[in-house]
Symmetry: C5
Subunit: 339 residues, 5 copies
Amino acid sequence: MARLIRNTRQRAVSRAPARHLVVCQHDGRFDSTVEVAAISDLIQQKDQIVWVDLQNPRAEDLALLSDEFGFHPLAIEDATHPHERPKIDAYNGYYFLLFYALRYDAAQKRISSQQVSLFIGANYLVCIHQDPIAAIDETIRRWQRYEHDFGEDVAELLYHLLDTIVDEYFPILDALIERVEDVEAQIFDHFRPESLQEIFALKRELLLMRKIVASERDVLNVLIRREAPVYPRDMVAYFQDVYDHLIRITDSIDTYRDLLSSALDAFLSLQSNQLNEVVKTLTIASIILMSAALIAGVYGMNFEFMPELSWPWGYPFALGLMAAISLLLIAIFKRRGWL
Amino acid sequence: MARLIRNTRQRAVSRAPARHLVVCQHDGRFDSTVEVAAISDLIQQKDQIVWVDLQNPRAEDLALLSDEFGFHPLAIEDATHPHERPKIDAYNGYYFLLFYALRYDAAQKRISSQQVSLFIGANYLVCIHQDPIAAIDETIRRWQRYEHDFGEDVAELLYHLLDTIVDEYFPILDALIERVEDVEAQIFDHFRPESLQEIFALKRELLLMRKIVASERDVLNVLIRREAPVYPRDMVAYFQDVYDHLIRITDSIDTYRDLLSSALDAFLSLQSNQLNEVVKTLTIASIILMSAALIAGVYGMNFEFMPELSWPWGYPFALGLMAAISLLLIAIFKRRGWL
Amino acid sequence: MARLIRNTRQRAVSRAPARHLVVCQHDGRFDSTVEVAAISDLIQQKDQIVWVDLQNPRAEDLALLSDEFGFHPLAIEDATHPHERPKIDAYNGYYFLLFYALRYDAAQKRISSQQVSLFIGANYLVCIHQDPIAAIDETIRRWQRYEHDFGEDVAELLYHLLDTIVDEYFPILDALIERVEDVEAQIFDHFRPESLQEIFALKRELLLMRKIVASERDVLNVLIRREAPVYPRDMVAYFQDVYDHLIRITDSIDTYRDLLSSALDAFLSLQSNQLNEVVKTLTIASIILMSAALIAGVYGMNFEFMPELSWPWGYPFALGLMAAISLLLIAIFKRRGWL
Amino acid sequence: MARLIRNTRQRAVSRAPARHLVVCQHDGRFDSTVEVAAISDLIQQKDQIVWVDLQNPRAEDLALLSDEFGFHPLAIEDATHPHERPKIDAYNGYYFLLFYALRYDAAQKRISSQQVSLFIGANYLVCIHQDPIAAIDETIRRWQRYEHDFGEDVAELLYHLLDTIVDEYFPILDALIERVEDVEAQIFDHFRPESLQEIFALKRELLLMRKIVASERDVLNVLIRREAPVYPRDMVAYFQDVYDHLIRITDSIDTYRDLLSSALDAFLSLQSNQLNEVVKTLTIASIILMSAALIAGVYGMNFEFMPELSWPWGYPFALGLMAAISLLLIAIFKRRGWL
Amino acid sequence: MARLIRNTRQRAVSRAPARHLVVCQHDGRFDSTVEVAAISDLIQQKDQIVWVDLQNPRAEDLALLSDEFGFHPLAIEDATHPHERPKIDAYNGYYFLLFYALRYDAAQKRISSQQVSLFIGANYLVCIHQDPIAAIDETIRRWQRYEHDFGEDVAELLYHLLDTIVDEYFPILDALIERVEDVEAQIFDHFRPESLQEIFALKRELLLMRKIVASERDVLNVLIRREAPVYPRDMVAYFQDVYDHLIRITDSIDTYRDLLSSALDAFLSLQSNQLNEVVKTLTIASIILMSAALIAGVYGMNFEFMPELSWPWGYPFALGLMAAISLLLIAIFKRRGWL
């Protein structure tokens, strides 16, 4: 069983290749070969929007980045260490945002998370991450295709990126919900001890997912409430939309965690019910068999003077006595409601 | 077992026919044949109140609507996607409100919810929903009949609509409460394992209903507290009234959820009690029968020198011994309080 | 088992006779025959204090009342419908207050509640209720007797009424507490399955009482905190006193609910302990009896060549063997701590 | 089992003798024979500090007090009725404070509480209590001995009194903690059903102690936060110190209540584990003994043609068969991990 | 089992030798032999930073300290008494801070805590502790080596000290997490009753650690939020970093406590499941063996007229009957799903 929080404080050894994609919206052209060193000049031009995407960066990339943008050393450190806790920090002139893309491994039935570190300035967006992240590629692709839909604004880029990341949570949530409902149905339809392990696995996954989504919700809340010098006021409705999605997800998770707890209670009740049934069977069968055996035992005694033994109908009488007592006991158990 | 939240993110395929009822209070006449395109002119007249009711709208209806009223695209999206979470958003010049009508299927013993999306402007009210909703039809009917009771105000229309929707919650709540009390009585009166399934089904329904009602309560709270430019101040008492109803419902749900939990605890205790009883029976019967069988076994031994075997009263003596030991055991168990 | 919330939304059919007592403090005279229609004149005189008590009012009484005082229709509706939720609403010029008198039926061991609706104006107090309420009669009697102690103030009248109502909660609480402590003592002293039903009945009663008292506490809090134009500032200490009583009651209820939960846990543990004891008895007795029976069985075999069978001391040897094995088993069980 | 809240609303019949000690710091002299009636003159002198200690006061003492100091009737009532709830009320010119001294009866293993009512004025401190309270005597003794350490300030007197009361909580807490740890160790070391009763008794005592201490913490918080006209600003650090002690106590109580809950869970698990062990023993022994008995039964059958019966080694063969089957069964149970 | 809170209110008898290290940054020289009495002169020089480290101080050391720095007596008392509760108090001109270093004893599998008391002035830092604390030595060593990295600021020294202390929490947390995951895996892979004790030990350690870390988090929060005259504004990001670490630790602890609770539930379910299995085995075996024994008993009866007894195939017939009934029973149990 792997760790829930896999990478606390140790630098994860990532096998993804380093990629240094610099995308800048300069007269409609997207350039993935811009020199890192040229960035500081680019962002001087206030009408430029620059998106820098660093995948699995080396130390020297980070150093350059730090030089070009003047990021705070603690923010750089946060960006390159795994955290498992979304957050937003306001620095002088830019925000630092930690967000998480989620991936569901249907075979292993496990969620894994990928950290995306974002530096959000007035006219730039810097993404740092270890592994390839579908939502980033998707957002860049859509930006390139529908450029004028995205407006001229970093906030809008950010909205599209976060929205794409969060949209990918829904199918994962749906997969978990389906499993919860399967396990729930299973419990009442055909009770199997294996359901227990599934309940606990689901509890674990929902707990992991909730922890990340709830923190992201708090981050979005900060983005919405704060007097933000970084994005125009009318973007609020858009971030509110992402926020609503996150609330809906945590609400659903809470509801399904409640249902899982109910399912566990039901499982335990049914288990205990089954024990009752087994013990009842044991009790009924034991009492009947022991009573019959006692009669057999009595007529197996070796006393010289046992008149029944020489009766011609002695043997059938004994068998009949056994049957009669068994029927009597069954009647008693029926009256008690045990049968 | 169907989903609690049935439609998350997928567009529900509704079979209700599209209906485009435009009702406008224009010199006391209600017109269901007004052209959609004429609405923008109507709402220019400040002394008009316009109620637009769109059932199961097509994409082109929505586009027209958006053109005529200038609604925000995100609000339109919210109005046409299923959510399971009531909310209120303030836009420039209007509110967007999500509310839910509930229906109780007495045969299936399940609650289902129907989303009502409302756009509330200074002199218009736009309802969008998929299925026919009784409360809307009822409100329109009452508006038509008692027009002057409704005043000249959108807020009053809104109050009547929300009040009608919420009033329909009470019989549903009563049906659930009756089931809770039935199951509670059942547990102590005649214990049946089936009660367990009913307890969990009720927990589920109350959870679903509470989730919706509690969010609606929050929405009403916003309506009451907020400096609302949309309705006159003296409407507050009316919305307060709906708010009170919603609080009463959530309070009752919480109380009955507490009672259900108690009932489950009682069920488990009684189940465990029953196990105790069964095991006691088993123990008492086993010990008595085994003791008697041991005596029979002893006199069934084949030793040559067993004086009792040749006693004339040996056989009755053995039977008497069995009876005596049984009575002794019964006395012991009685003293222990097991009988 | 009757409903916790008996009357939600249906008008209770009350059998108490209608009574229309109008009490007014007009030059020290109490008049129960004042015409309802004369009230509006009376309350014009600012130096008058008017107490109107309507028991089980008819619709026409309410209509008159509404005309004379000009109460809001929603308040009138609240006053005549059963609610089970204390509340306070500020209207223009008066407060509307819902409070509950409690009665404990010692035979049935159940609490029942009676709604008192109060309209509190600058110089009048209107009570509406269905059944006769002891606290109201008591307060009026004391007002008549010690008139000058009550001051010249509606707030003081209100304080005396609420204080009398709340004072009647204490003996009810004491009765419940006594039952909690009885059931607690019972569990450890002489365990009986009936304790379970008593625990759940008490949980139910405490839950009901807490729900009402906690809401009344919130209502008093509003009375104390709010800038109240209706009563003079120095009354705050008095209302604070009622508030303290209510807090003390909810605190006690919470403590005793905690103790009840503990008692239930204790009950279940003892029940489970008892099962352990029974099963231990079964195990010990079975093993001993079966071992002895096995020896008897062995010497009941019919082999031709069994030397022990022809020993003169064979029979005593067999019985001695049974005794020896039984003693050995008992020693083993003692060492294990089972005996 | 006595009541947790012993005296709710009934005046406790105290057997402690009435004592009317009036202590005043008048030019260094402590006078316990000052006439009550002289107090009003004393407290007029602003440079005087007066400590009035009334133990088990009679009604006329209270009346005098009320006259001399002009205390509010509700405060006087609160001071002389048992409450079980610490509180602070600000009156015009003085505070009224309810605090509780605790005493631990090591033999009975029960905590009892003693109410101390304090009126705190600018230059006086009035204590009212029923039973002798060690902390009060101790504080007065220290005041007399180290007079100049106490400063010239009522707040400092108050601090010393509260500090002495709270300091006496620590040994009580330590006694409870020791019992918690004993019971915890007991559970895992040598499981005894009696632990259960001790766990519930401890839960009860911790609950009682927490209820009082937590309310006192709130009272201190009010003393620290409030703009207090009664004591100088630099006293805050001292009251903060008492507050810290109370927080430390509630924190410890919470931690140990958590540990008690864990201990209860552990107890139940071990109890259930023990049941498993017993039932396993029963199962293993039954199956082995029944199998051997079956063989004995078979060779006890009376068929004429049973070849084994006439074998010379028939009897040893039968015994060997029993042994073989027993060993086989033991091997099977070992493989299953039951032995 | 030792105490969770070992030293409440009693002075711990420490065996660590007293050490009086005075470190001062005076023209780059670190001096551990500075006279205590010279400190007051040193701290007069505003450009000096003085770090005083007192290990296991004697009463006279503390008196001197108090004289030189003028610390408040309550702060001195707090510094020398064990507390188990981190806190921060603002005094006139300095902060008093209680923090805890943690140590994990891998052999005993227990966490122990060491109190560090800090007085933080404008240009001095005084540490008081009983035992040698690695983080302090480490911080001093790094300060000496990389002096100019530390800036000229007490706040930076403080940051480095707290950061070093908190960094040592992570390996301890990792050790606990590993144990949680081991015990979790154990439960489902090879169920052993010993897991129970490990679960409760872990709960205890996590509870202890959480209590300390959560209080330290609150302390850091005060440091960040408060208008702090003691350190420059740009240090906030650094303290924020320590705060984030502490939040991450408490979050992880909470998650793992949740998982432990789940693990306990799983353990209990599996235990109960095992009981079910054992009882099923008992039931099946008993019924089969008793049925066969009954047949043997019947043919062991001594009736004169039992035709089967003289059948040549009587014996095999009896054995065959036993086998047939056993197979029938097995078939029945299979159909019931018990086998």
